[in-house]
């Protein structure tokens, strides 16, 4: 097969890496040699990179916003469309050659004993489990990019008929109907990796997306009474992705486990907003990234957890387990679900360090590059539904933690301050969902009081 690697070019002697800012072609698009293919950004210079060959863009390996070293393969150009399709299905064989064969030839995964950690399974060590789960869920996205001409065929049809012979053979051997698997290949085709992930998923329930192993006691949620739909009803039935299933199981399990109570505080964000605005331009120049509000909140959460340690704890039978490490999970919304990467030892990081970690973890979460340990070990979680315009959410605790903080939208509101003066201030509702089994209302409010004090009065410039 005549394929050409598209590499991150060396744009200067002292330039070691580049950030892809925009792909000018989509997978499946035809390109001429020297036609602009993607744009990169290095320092203050933007550059448009021409295609190294004529053909069809078969695959984008490095997405927009990602920074890679010079000479990294960022995409693949195939000679024609058929090869482009083949190559899109092929990558499954490339990253996991050693791990794939045992799983493909041995007994199906359901026979395995219940193991809570996916990292121990034979295929999972190559792609991170969270990543594999996330990848299995991208079908909906890919389907929107279905090349013209394939519209008439159903996705199921495509998965069955257009998968590679290898995938079909394994499926046959394992007795799997691949039309029911969420494929990540072109137009939702099932790749070998998808199939192996599917076989693997036949095993026990795990919750890699929420950073906490699900206790063995967690039984499936009871079915609602009566059928949800009857044959002939005007509905579309779509199997949940693996990630969706894990989230669903974990949410129900958490609601059943913890006695959720919520307390809502309104925070005056003048302090953090003005600090951020003052340092932003210089921060971007020095660190190559924007300073977001999240690190300020994480920093304040760390202070509050230190002040009120029972919020940084877990319940173990009749014991309260106080966690000495402060590992703050930060929920990242993905187009295909949600993932909570964890900032380990957040109490040891500066504002810059937290910002960098958050940006890096969020980026890699979106690029499906997280390692298993990066979504595990959280002791407290921060989630930000405010980015979508929510005033405040009442989030569900990520087990086995005992509290989660939801940030609302920051917006200017009219406040009455001392002397009955009316002022306009950037305000944010924050909601703490806490487990009333071990945290009393007064203690939760003590935590929120500490959080408020830090956010509103701390000299964050000194913490940069």
């Amino acid at each position: 097969m005549a394929k050409t690697d598209v590499i991150m070019p060396q744009m200067g002697e002292s330039i070691a890496e580049g950030t892809i800012t925009k792909w000018l072609k989509k997978p499946g698009d035809a390109v001429r040699r020297d036609e602009p293919l993607f744009e990169i950004s290095t320092d203050k210079v933007d550059a448009e990179i021409p295609s190294p060959a004529a053909g069809v863009l078969a695959e984008i390996k490095v997405g927009e916003g990602q920074t890679v070293e010079v000479n990294t393969v960022v995409g693949i150009i195939a000679e024609n469309a058929a090869e482009a399709a083949a190559s899109a299905a092929a990558p499954a064989t490339a990253p996991a050659p050693a791990a794939a064969s045992p799983a493909a030839t041995t007994a199906p995964a359901p026979a395995k004993p219940a193991a809570p950690q996916p990292a121990r399974s034979p295929v999972a060590h190559t792609p991170a489990p969270a990543a594999a789960v996330a990848q299995a869920a991208t079908t909906a996205l890919r389907e929107t990019a279905t090349p013209a001409g394939h519209d008439a065929e159903s996705v199921e049809e495509l998965r069955r008929t257009r998968s590679t012979p290898l995938v079909r053979r394994i499926a046959k051997e394992e007795g799997v109907d691949i039309s029911h698997i969420q494929g990540t290949g072109i137009s939702g085709r099932v790749t070998k990796k998808d199939l192996l992930a599917h076989l693997e998923a036949g095993g026990p329930a795990v919750a890699p997306t929420l950073g906490a192993p699900v206790p063995a006691a967690a039984a499936p949620a009871p079915m609602p009474a009566g059928p949800v739909f009857r044959p002939g009803d005007n509905v579309v039935v779509e199997p949940m992705s693996l990630m969706r299933k894990r989230i669903a199981e974990h949410m129900v399990m958490s609601k059943r486990t913890s006695a959720h109570v919520h307390t809502i505080y309104e925070m005056d964000c003048s302090n953090i907003m003005s600090t951020r605005n003052q340092v932003q331009a210089d921060f971007v120049r020095r660190h190559g990234q924007k300073l977001t509000i999240t690190p300020f909140v994480v920093k304040a959460v760390v202070e509050a957890l230190r002040a009120v340690p029972v919020v940084n704890a877990s319940v173990d039978g009749d014991n309260i387990v106080y966690k000495k490490d402060i590992n703050v999970g930060v929920a990242v919304a993905l187009e295909w679900g949600l993932i909570v990467p964890v900032i380990h030892h957040a109490d040891e990081l500066s504002l810059v360090g937290i910002n960098t970690r958050v940006a890096d973890l969020a980026n890699r979460a979106r690029g499906k590059q997280l390692k298993p340990e990066e979504v595990q070990g959280g002791t407290f979680t921060v989630t930000n539904p405010g980015v979508f315009g929510s005033l405040f959410g009442t989030p569900i605790i990520s087990q086995p933690q005992v509290a989660i903080l939801g940030m609302g939208m920051i917006e200017k509101r009219v406040r009455v301050i001392e002397n009955d003066a009316i002022v306009i201030k950037p305000m944010m509702y924050t909601c703490l969902s806490y487990d009333h089994r071990i945290i009393d209302g007064a203690v939760a409010d003590q935590f929120m009081g500490s959080l408020k004090k830090t956010l509103e009065t701390a000299d964050f410039k000194a913490l940069l």
């Binding site: 744009m11 200067g12 330039i15 290095t42 203050k44 550059a47 605005n277």
Partner: protein
């Protein structure tokens, strides 16, 4: 104008355009880049001024524009997004804008070198009026020391390269009304500031005078035979 480089150096046509709306300049550049890439013309150095405009580079954050759209409209300031590197920049009357549309291939294919070379041109231009500019490590643009005040930025650089053909370029504050910079987040922390040649010199030159000098120094640094059209 004297020919600076030797007769064998590649030709670069310089052109004084006067005041050009930003959108027109973008369009001109796009066409010229395509033409230059096809070998249909020589290198070109455009020297111009823009009406009041804020431009947002690829890395720009809208929050760095401090004024809202209504206030910008009231002040007659346009706002544009553009495909160069960098953040928010202000352009306006009294500021020399230079857009080199030159082919860096085959011997100058290095983005950092290109930016450094532009900085050198700016330093030489400022030196011609006795202003000692300097660079700040990790930042692009040219800065000057001011007695009793923190260093201030006098020239900005934001460039784009497509198949080694350059576009966008530099903006040097000659007689810029610096109050317009208050519309955007100033370059860095509080205390960092912008300045102009007029602020530093008792008898400042005109934009046209600085433009001619820029073309001359551009020829020296880039080894081009600069000819005004």
């Amino acid at each position: 104008m004297d020919s600076i480089a030797t007769e064998t150096a590649p030709l670069c046509e310089a052109e004084l355009l006067g005041v050009v709306p930003y959108a027109d300049a973008l369009e001109m550049q796009a066409q010229r880049v395509a033409l230059r890439a096809d070998g249909g013309c020589a290198d070109r150095l455009w020297l111009l001024e823009h009406p009041h405009v804020l431009t947002l580079g690829r890395n720009a954050h809208e929050t760095h524009v401090l004024a809202d759209r209504a206030r910008l409209a009231a002040l007659g300031v346009e706002i544009h997004e553009c495909g160069r590197g960098g953040d928010v920049t202000y352009h306006g009357p009294g500021q020399l804008v230079a857009y080199p549309i030159v082919d860096l291939a085959p011997d100058r294919c290095d983005l950092h070198r290109y930016v450094r070379d532009l900085e050198q041109v700016l330093l030489r231009v400022l030196a011609a009026w006795g202003i000692r500019g300097h660079l700040v490590p990790g930042r692009t643009g040219v800065w000057v020391e001011r007695p009793g005040a923190p260093p201030a930025k006098i020239a900005a650089i934001g460039v784009r390269v497509s198949r080694w053909i350059t576009s966008h370029g530099i903006a040097l504050n000659v007689r810029t009304d610096l109050r317009y910079f208050d519309l955007i987040v100033p370059c860095g922390l509080a205390g960092s500031a912008v300045t102009s040649m007029a602020e530093l010199l008792p008898d400042p030159p005109t934009v046209a005078q600085v433009a001619e000098r820029f073309a001359q120094e551009f020829g020296v640094v880039f080894a081009r035979r600069v000819q005004f059209r």
